[in-house]
Symmetry: C2
Subunit: 199 residues, 2 copies
């Protein structure tokens, strides 16, 4: 999917693409995934539906690529020399306002993933997998430095721990996730579970 | 809210109540919270809308009480003598099939909570708070037994850890939460974060 899509997408400028993605996310926030239609996207962005289908293949890929465009720089750029430093750098990538907006979009999408097979596939292929791969690389560096034992059973749950805290904060505490919450959770839960000392 | 509701609910038999709750959950699964109406519940259960409103006050309380009726026995009955025993007992309360169905219902409700104030209030008051209180009691016993230090910073995140794993399992791994997954997660993440040795 991605090679073909890269070729297709190269036909529009980065500026137009950013504008179109922003419009898609506005729509997603306003009406939810199921009610977003290619017609509505075309109308909102003054594009032709044919162009949209040619460039993105369909709604699922368009929405997931729009989500991905919102993500602050990939984890690949983060390498502070310690696992704690890397995880803290992830937590402060976004300011609290961006984090809250992102959480709302992720909720909307996470729900829709369960009832739309093509969305689930695009979500997995374009969002979850690349991010998991970056986490694996980050963890491998920590193991190589001797910070984490290679057989620590919490290693395979790193993303569950992080995404879980992010996802449940609002539900449990009626508060949006914030940088301070994530930093505190990383020090209280994630690092101790991995056996990494805090100092 | 709950005192009044208890008085009101006593007018119907437990059998009728169980049947009505099952019908409400069927509807919730079929059409989602926003599309569930008191008209539809009345039609499905051959009740009058007036009765429904008199007994439950409104849709939010009816749906949350229906959800609560599905939960296997409260945590209050669990007291195995160790925190690991208690957490494992929670993980095996439901079989995998019930757990998957519950996860789907919780997802539907968790989404709707963000856009319905009355649902959020009922959800918090009737589901989250009572459960949190039971968790606090379980943790207090573990602290009293000397299993967990009273100032362990992970204590306040116990529910985030557990609900987080439950909620993210499907999203990250494309697999439903199961007993084995929860047991493994408790031993790999929750107990080490709390400083509880596994043996």
């Amino acid at each position: 999917m991605s090679d073909v899509a890269t070729t297709r997408r190269s036909r529009i400028t980065p500026e137009c693409e950013a504008e179109l993605y922003a419009a898609v996310l506005d729509l997603l926030r306003e009406v939810g995934y199921d009610a977003v239609t290619m017609d509505a996207v075309a109308a909102r962005t003054r594009s032709s539906k044919a162009t949209l289908y040619r460039q993105w293949g369909g709604k699922a890929e368009l929405v997931v690529r729009a989500m991905r465009s919102q993500k602050p720089g990939g984890l690949a750029d983060i390498d502070t020399g310690s696992l704690r430093g890397d995880l803290h750098a992830i937590a402060v990538r976004e300011d609290d306002c961006a984090m809250e907006q992102n959480a709302a979009l992720m909720r909307a999408l996470a729900m829709a993933v369960h009832t739309n097979d093509d969305l689930r596939q695009a979500f997995k292929e374009l969002l979850v997998e690349p991010e998991m791969e970056e986490f694996r690389r980050m963890v491998r560096r920590a193991v190589d430095r001797g910070e984490v034992r290679p057989d620590n059973p919490a290693l395979e749950y790193l993303v569950h721990m992080l995404v879980g805290a992010f996802a449940t904060r609002t539900l449990i505490d009626d508060l949006p996730p914030t940088r301070d919450f994530l930093l505190s959770y990383i020090d209280a839960v994630v690092l101790p579970a991995l056996g990494v000392p805090l100092h």
